[in-house]
């Protein structure tokens, strides 16, 4: 029997609703800083969902990396270039129907994949506790090569950014 009204499901529903509304507002708002803040709300909701899934370390990492670093840099860029506090700039481009189509298609594909893979599987009653030590162990043993490859990729991106902005 599917129990819909357990605490986790209610919390998930609320958080998911916040995430969806923020995501829609992010693309419809006409103020660029507000758009960035709605994106922060979406990312924070994702972190909350990770906490519901007992993945505290992933949730904290989401906070530290996306909200604490990436979005701060976003806001920096926006504020230092063009971000009038009053008066809305026209942010919606003319190609928004195409974007909408792509988004709907992506949502369709993801829904299909998830349903196809998990179908009517039930989650185990005892939550799987996957603590920080396990994450660390698997990163530095099983997934060492992909992890290092991603690190080098990020380093390359960093150096690339420096090379692009250097004047001489």
């Amino acid at each position: 029997m599917l129990s819909v009204l357990v605490a986790q499901n209610i919390a998930f529903g609320i958080i998911a609703a916040i995430a969806c509304i923020s995501a829609v507002r992010m693309v419809t708002t006409q103020n660029v800083v507000h758009a960035a803040l709605y994106l922060v709300a979406v990312l924070a909701s994702l972190a909350a969902i990770y906490i519901l899934l007992v993945a505290e370390f992933v949730a904290t990492t989401q906070f530290l990396v996306y909200i604490g670093a990436v979005m701060v840099l976003f806001l920096f860029g926006v504020m230092l270039t063009r971000a009038p506090t009053t008066g809305d700039s026209r942010l919606t481009g003319d190609h928004w129907p195409i974007g909408l189509g792509v988004a709907v298609m992506l949502a369709g594909v993801l829904t299909y994949v998830v349903l196809d893979f998990f179908g009517s599987d039930q989650l185990p009653n005892d939550p799987i506790v996957f603590d920080t030590a396990d994450v660390g162990d698997s990163i530095f043993s099983t997934y060492l090569v992909p992890f290092e490859a991603v690190s080098v990729l990020l380093l390359a991106a960093l150096i690339g950014a420096i090379v692009l902005v250097r004047k001489d």
């Binding site: 949730a59 604490g68 920096f76």
Partner: protein, 404 residues
């Protein structure tokens, strides 16, 4: 299995009440402590400067902060015409809430014995629990998460004011906070390696077995100094208070704020000082651990904790009375070119020592490999610094500087 014994197994109504009680006490305590801190700072700094300081409201002026707070409530709440009203109202709350959140992971009491991670519990309403609001498995990362959210409060306050000085102040403040967060995080890494856990309770427990297990060598020298400097910069306290350098920026990011909204920023700032002091005590000085006399188990741990925190609060005020403010380029140089490389080097050295001592790895290859890495890194760093200096010299050729 670590974690609060209160939340193991089934959770009944009393457990929820205990958690709510702890939250309420922590909230109330922080508010009162902040009031005390404001008075303490004003009184102490006036002593250091041969003044009297607040002395009218209550005995020794101790009610001065309460009077100021009440006054803030009745002031007119101004909002600039150019301000973005939603964000302008949101920003102070972001500052205050994050200031509270980080305190939740600080253990303030409980008997910690012999480095045992299961010690340090107290009995509250017949339930065994830790004397801290929360002991999440990612523990100390919550501090870093909270301080990265605190940047939003400052940045949005500056931007939404729709005025130039707040914007400049906010850009300075957030650049400073982001820069020093890296050094802060790395100092925390050293503590985590030494204690072998992210949980603040386990970190305190790991330090509690007397001089042997208190890892003063691993964290007390370089990581502590780096953490202290970085924390001072994170808090925007003197000598790193460029954010509100009056001579340059009027009041910094909160120039346009008045009344209770300004009071909230003020509150958050002092609350952060207390929280940071408490975190430093937790990470480096064993939190509530200490000798217990007369069998007073319930009193001495908390007394030790507050005593240690008070020392750091005093040092922060002492800094403010003593040290002149850094210039902006000095600030950035200290953060990026001194603290971070020193911390990285120390992590390398400390890790090599641990490998040799605990994992019984042959020290000779460790020393050779470690030295090679250290030499290469130092050479690269020196090359990068000199390249940066040369570029700086080229941009600021003497002909440009004649006017100034």
């Amino acid at each position: 299995m670590s974690g609060d014994p209160l939340l193991r197994g089934t959770i009944d109504f009393v457990d929820v009440l205990v958690v709510l009680f702890k939250v309420g006490i922590a909230f109330g305590f922080l508010l009162v402590a902040t009031m005390f801190m404001v008075w303490f700072e004003r009184k102490l700094i006036s002593d250091m400067q041969n003044r009297i300081g607040p002395n009218v409201a209550g005995p020794w002026g101790i009610l001065q902060t309460l009077a100021d707070g009440l006054k803030f409530f009745f002031k007119e709440d101004l909002r600039p015409r150019e301000a973005d009203s939603l964000v302008f109202r949101l920003a102070p709350y972001l500052s205050v809430v994050t200031a509270f959140v980080a305190f939740a992971i600080v253990p303030v009491g409980g008997v910690f014995k012999d480095g045992d991670p299961t010690s340090g519990t107290v009995s509250l309403f017949g339930k065994e629990t830790y004397l801290q609001v929360a002991d999440p498995p990612m523990g100390i990362l919550l501090l870093l998460a909270a301080s990265s959210i605190a940047v939003y409060g400052i940045m949005l306050a500056g931007w939404s004011s729709g005025s130039k000085y707040p914007l400049l102040g906010a850009v300075r403040a957030s650049a400073q906070a982001i820069s020093y967060e890296a050094a802060l995080g790395m100092a925390v890494v050293a503590v985590v390696i030494a204690a072998g856990s992210l949980s603040t309770h386990d970190i305190v427990a790991a330090q509690s077995g007397g001089y042997r297990s208190w890892y003063w060598f691993a964290t007390g020298l370089i990581p502590f100094v780096v953490f202290f400097i970085a924390a001072t910069a994170e808090l925007n306290r003197p000598p790193f208070d460029l954010v509100e350098a009056e001579q340059e920026l009027v009041g910094g990011f909160h120039t346009e704020y008045s009344s209770i909204r300004f009071a909230m920023f003020f509150l958050a700032e002092f609350m952060n000082v207390i929280t940071m002091s408490a975190i430093m005590v937790t990470l480096f000085f064993g939190g509530p651990a200490g000798p217990i006399f007369f069998g007073l188990d319930w009193l001495f741990p908390t007394l030790w904790f507050f005593g240690k925190v008070l020392v750091f609060l005093f040092v922060f005020v002492w800094f403010r009375a003593t040290l002149p403010r850094l210039r902006y380029d000095q600030l950035m140089n200290l953060g990026w070119k001194v603290l971070i490389p020193v911390m990285l080097g120390w992590l390398l050295v400390y890790r090599a020592i641990v490998l040799w001592r605990d994992d019984k790895i042959d020290p000779i290859p460790t020393i050779i490999v470690g030295s090679i890495i250290a030499i290469v890194c130092t050479a690269l760093l020196t090359a990068a610094f000199s390249a940066g200096d040369r570029a700086f010299e080229r941009e600021n050729t003497p002909s440009d500087r004649e006017g100034s």
